[in-house]
Amino acid sequence: MQITSQTFKANTVKALADVDLQRALRHVEKGFIGKRQKAADALPEFEALRDSAMAIKQHTLKHLDLYIDAYVEKVEASGGKVHFAEDADHARRIFLDIARRRKAKTVTKGKTMISEEIGLNKFLEQNGITPVETDLGEYIIQLRDEHPSHIIAPAVHINRDQVEADFRKFHVDLDPERDLTKPETLLSEARQILRQKYGEADIGVTGANFLIAETGTSVIVTNEGNGDLTQLLGKCHVVLASLEKIVPTLEDTAQILRVLARSATGQEMSVYTTLSTGPKRAEDRDGPEEYHVILLDNGRSNMLGTEFEDMLRCIRCGACMNHCPVYHAVGGHSYGWVYPGPMGAVLTPSLIGVDKAGHLPNASTFCGRCEAVCPMRIPLPKMMRHWREKEFESHLQPTAARFGLGVWAFFARRPKLYRSAVSFAMPALKLLGGRKRRLRSLPLAGGWTKWRDLPAPEGRTFMQAYAQSGHADGGRS
């Protein structure tokens, strides 16, 4: 896909002026934050499970070579095949080889971010193969010729009435007078249309939430059941996964599953957790004839052993963006590539280069909420700071710092937004300030606080303090 991370600032300006987008983004906070909190509170062991999940991934990354070897051996023992892909281009070529050999015309797809990362859909179309997205959100995005704006809620930037308009435009065989005012009817219509596609598919593509070394198993986690139908009914199942998806054992998978759904959607468990191992067995009455895994590196092995290794623990739950005031304000597309929000701000420069994505690590109020909710305890703010240091080393700092101030100024000019962003930030800033209550660098104002210390906030914003001191107006924008 076209990378627009370089123009992050312009993207955000556009996003803030986009009325439909702003309307849709309200659902992010409403939809996710309270649910996650409730699910976390309902399980006394939640924090201990976060520690456990983090330790599993740390151990795996330290022994990744050995676990990959064990995994490949098991996939082959169950009749599947693993293909190592160096980069996006290589992964696409491997896929095309499989598709050509199977004379594939149609490919159904469960939700996979790796497919976005390697730009699979456009490539397939260029090669005369039709990709069909089956996740409702991804399907809507595909009709609109857009990209996902969220890693677990791809169409979160679109409103119901826009979906209705798209369905009327593309589903021309259906009665133009039909009632599509309810989300239920939109869902049934998509279900009905996609139903026909599963069985026609020559290949079913899915991502993987986990690859289990002990058994050579790929795991997908869905609520709709579309990924499951995709991999079950396609004649050939191709799994697209990056190498950090490896976990050692079934038990390790169970640990991480307990924090995944809770952090993502606030569910105890997602509806479907499906473990697939190899192709259809001799006695099976259904299932794919072939099973392939395309194991993508695309820059990840270069993150191992560096200060960015922690990012490889990410399980793509989306909690960091769900809790990010910058994401709430500008949405996912502003980030300009596949991965938005705090995790994208760290991962994107690692994968496509700091020269192309150097602005992203500035897209933060450094409020610390992302790290506080990340189930894998990834120190996202610290890593964004690492990137800014790298920018400095490569002489990219001045623009970036100016830009940081620009975002700050932007929020400052919009008091209501600023207050919501900063009231999250206050407790974190207070912590950062430590006992001396002086901040050496204020996020987004790096160029300025570099030269002077700011007094650390007292844990309340000025507006809150002002309101509480008797100025009733203080809270109104």
Binding site: L136, P183, T249, R281
Partner: protein, 224 residues
């Protein structure tokens, strides 16, 4: 597989993790974990005596929008399904696999017509037998094979699942131990499906709707 790519990728990983030619310590750590499958943190919630465990399962499954009935024995299955379908004005037809546990059931007393095999997508209702369940989360576990073809779990709109009360475990880890016992260490059936409630989507304005691509309703029949 492109051998040279594997070598290149693995070479970079080995350098990054500080692998050495001998590496006995790291190898032993990995072998021990794969062999021992250590359990991590098991939430207390599901660690209960059988009766309470079953009650927790029923409660959690209902919270996930499944419906659950407890029936005394397999012989009560046809009537339960027939009544469910009749009450909703649905056709008295059901598709099922060759599970031997369901083989002796006499459907002839009811109006139900039963077809065998995987679903071709035209079946409105299906019947499966679960291999186990997780009380902690209200989750069913089904495994692929001719007994219970996987398509029956996903294509029909109404999915009936039989579960033996004694197969309800406290946690997912216990079910994995059971799979190992049945299939062997490191060996898995083609597909293991953990199912928690009927399918749903929140992709339109984050409004949760039941019945996406999978079943709209999940009805669990707990036997015994």
């Amino acid at each position: 597989m492109s051998g040279s790519t594997r070598d290149a990728v693995m070479g970079r990983i080995r350098r990054a993790v500080g692998a050495t030619p001998d590496d006995s310590e790291r190898r032993e750590a990995v072998a021990a974990r794969l062999a021992g499958s250590p359990k991590g943190v098991i939430p207390k919630r599901g660690q209960l005596a059988p009766a309470e465990r079953l009650a927790l399962f029923v409660d959690m499954a209902r919270k996930a929008d499944a419906t659950v009935v407890e029936i005394p024995d397999y012989a009560a299955i046809p009537d339960e399904i027939a009544t469910y379908l009749r009450e909703r004005n649905l056709p008295a037809e059901i598709k099922m696999g060759d599970d031997p546990r369901l083989a002796g059931i006499d459907f002839s007393e009811t109006a139900l017509s039963v077809a065998k095999g995987p679903s071709d997508g035209d079946d409105l209702s299906s019947l499966s037998h679960a291999e186990g369940a997780i009380a902690e989360s209200g989750t069913l576990m089904l495994t692929s094979g001719p007994d219970n073809p996987t398509s029956l779990n996903f294509l029909p709109e109404y999915h009936f699942v039989v579960l033996k009360a004694e197969d309800v475990a406290g946690d997912m880890e216990s079910l994995f131990a059971g799979l190992r016992e049945r299939f062997g260490k490191g060996v898995m059936p083609r597909s293991v499906n953990f199912v928690t409630g009927p399918s749903r989507s929140a992709d339109i304005e984050q409004t949760l709707l039941l019945g996406a691509h999978g079943p709209r309703r999940l009805h669990i029949l707990v036997v015994g």
